[in-house]
């Protein structure tokens, strides 16, 4: 299975063109669009979705992420292997969160490997089509292994930090992105809840309860929950938490312990 993630939008045929290139080399592989509506050049959003979504995909899945403001420059293209899956992306921080969070091996794609696969970039501006799509097809058909694409390489770090334990036992996280419903998705894994007594979320001056599901909230209440990606999310029932709390991506929030007292 191959997935596609990009900032191409849906108005232009760029995603369809990548599919064409994959189908030509690997007609039998299912291709799934994760999203093509990453904000233009927002490499950290793409990396966050890959980090959140990859557990929903089986071993052997190949994820191609094309958010590539440096296309045509000297930035490398990487193949990162983690959780039994492969991630192909430019080396611009997109793979930083995955590399921070999971055991991985990563490799820098060389011209020699591409040439052995008869992959010849025909443009300086669309390496998603010219390199990453055909390479994904070749890896998907097992005509090449990840460790054969080039030398080991440490991915550039991303701007998005993992959740961080603080001296006062709180956990500091970042709002990674706002989804279509207005939910604010954070970098704090749901598992962090277990390490704290009676945890709550602190965002600016506000404390938010942690509930099990949207239906448990009071009307208009802003709250937090562990979402379907097992990440802490700020939400409101049938409304936009981003709007209600005035949250933008990049904002800091905390998971804190509360002690029951009068």
């Amino acid at each position: 299975m191959i997935t596609l993630t990009s900032d191409f939008g849906t108005r232009d045929p760029y995603a369809g063109i990548m599919r064409s290139r994959i189908v030509q080399r690997a007609p039998q592989l299912p291709i799934i669009d994760l999203t093509h509506e990453i904000s233009a050049f927002a490499v950290e959003q793409a990396g966050y979705w890959l980090y959140c979504c990859h557990p929903q995909f089986p071993a052997g899945t190949i994820h191609v992420a094309v958010v590539d403001p440096g296309v045509g420059s000297a930035r490398a293209i990487l193949v990162l292997e983690a959780a039994g899956q492969l991630f192909i992306a430019p080396d611009n921080g997109l793979l930083g969160l995955l590399a921070q969070s999971l055991p991985y091996r990563a490799y820098r794609v060389t011209d020699e490997a591409l040439s052995r696969l008869h992959i010849a970039p025909s443009s300086a501006t669309f390496h998603g089509r010219d390199i990453m799509a055909p390479l994904a097809a070749e890896l998907g058909c097992q005509r090449i292994r990840a460790d054969e694409v080039g030398p080991a390489h440490t991915p550039a770090p991303g701007r998005l930090a993992c959740a961080q334990a603080m001296p006062d036992r709180s956990i500091r996280g970042t709002v990674a992105l706002i989804d279509h419903y207005g939910n604010a998705l954070t970098t704090i894994p749901g598992a962090a809840l277990k390490s704290l007594r009676a945890p709550q979320v602190r965002f600016e001056q506000q404390s938010l309860r942690i509930l099990r599901t949207y239906a448990d909230a009071g009307p208009g209440e802003c709250f937090a929950l562990v979402n379907s990606a097992s990440m802490l999310e700020l939400a409101t029932r049938q409304g936009s938490a981003a709007q209600a709390l005035n949250i933008q991506p990049g904002r800091t929030m905390y998971l804190v312990e509360t002690v029951a007292e009068s």
Copy 2:
């Protein structure tokens, strides 16, 4: 064939994740997106599209509709069988229009059935991924029949009423939704025209002619036609009828007889 309908939007990877779950259990079944741009929580829009579109799909098609504001609450998940096809959706009114309009059998999905299929919800907030997608795959592969998912169940009624014959021989309908072109799609089936002499549409103070196709209208004329889903639609030539007539979903309109007189 499996179709997907939701209010996920296209910006987030939720639809792709549902596809992944289906592909893992039923790699050979074509999956078709009907739309993921149902307005957030607008169950009646999803139900209307299923009602309008299902005749375009072959017997055996399985439609999955995930507009699910009550996810995590006690609302049931249903499998409805009608017109030789299956419809999987939360029991929140989404299937009401179908159940009102067609002979059907419906069943409430039980935990026992899911457990027999090794479907184990891993979240309280994404039953589309955890239950409906894998269940659609299992039904599509005929590893379970609709009547084996649980006991018979009458779907909750929807907010959208079918067209209704009035004492004065007119037919009252509702604007169900506005499409991308600004056409206003109504709940009046095109077949209703046959029962009336010289029918016209009455919307507020205005009378609209009924034409065969868009190209038959005068420039700027608002008119009605029987659309490709065999439903009465208010339209204007190369423009937005919704804007020209100031129509919102939920508005009432009438199909009336006119008597040729001087």
Copy 3:
């Protein structure tokens, strides 16, 4: 392989319904969405994308383009053969740019041919679903050849003109469309650069350098490049050239020679 291009938008299920019709007749053919977000009724945008994208598809690909303001009127449906591929579209100028630019043969689809294929339009308003989708499937399965769909026919010219050589050795082109990033795509093929000495782009009072890739531009610089479709494109680095230069589709621009002088 079949591709779909339309002005259906993504909010309504029209594209999914076309897929259903293709899958029913040709379940084994991959279907790729180029875009469904052509501006409503903008036939020249659809034609431009087909012109730019077709080199990315293999011989035998069938492209279906449904931008069809005249649906239900007497306008013909055409099958155009060029570059070893087929293009199915209404005869409303959509295929004009292709016909201007490439050697082609085109045929007007007759009712007799449709009837032999058991294609019976059931609506006056959705020939994409009723005629073009099933015809694409039949052509894709080679149950009919392009020259068997009807008599030869010259496609209606489009509003979008090819690049034109001017007496002063400059080349006049048109901005065909603005993509999702704000890049302005023109009708001047990149190959035209070779015929000029030290070429630059002249748009209104401004001169733009021609660079190899986005990463070569200075911050905020508006420039031109030969894009991945081998067409001249006006761009700015990580921003919208359309906004910066105040460009709309349809505007004229020139590729001019500059002579190095003091």
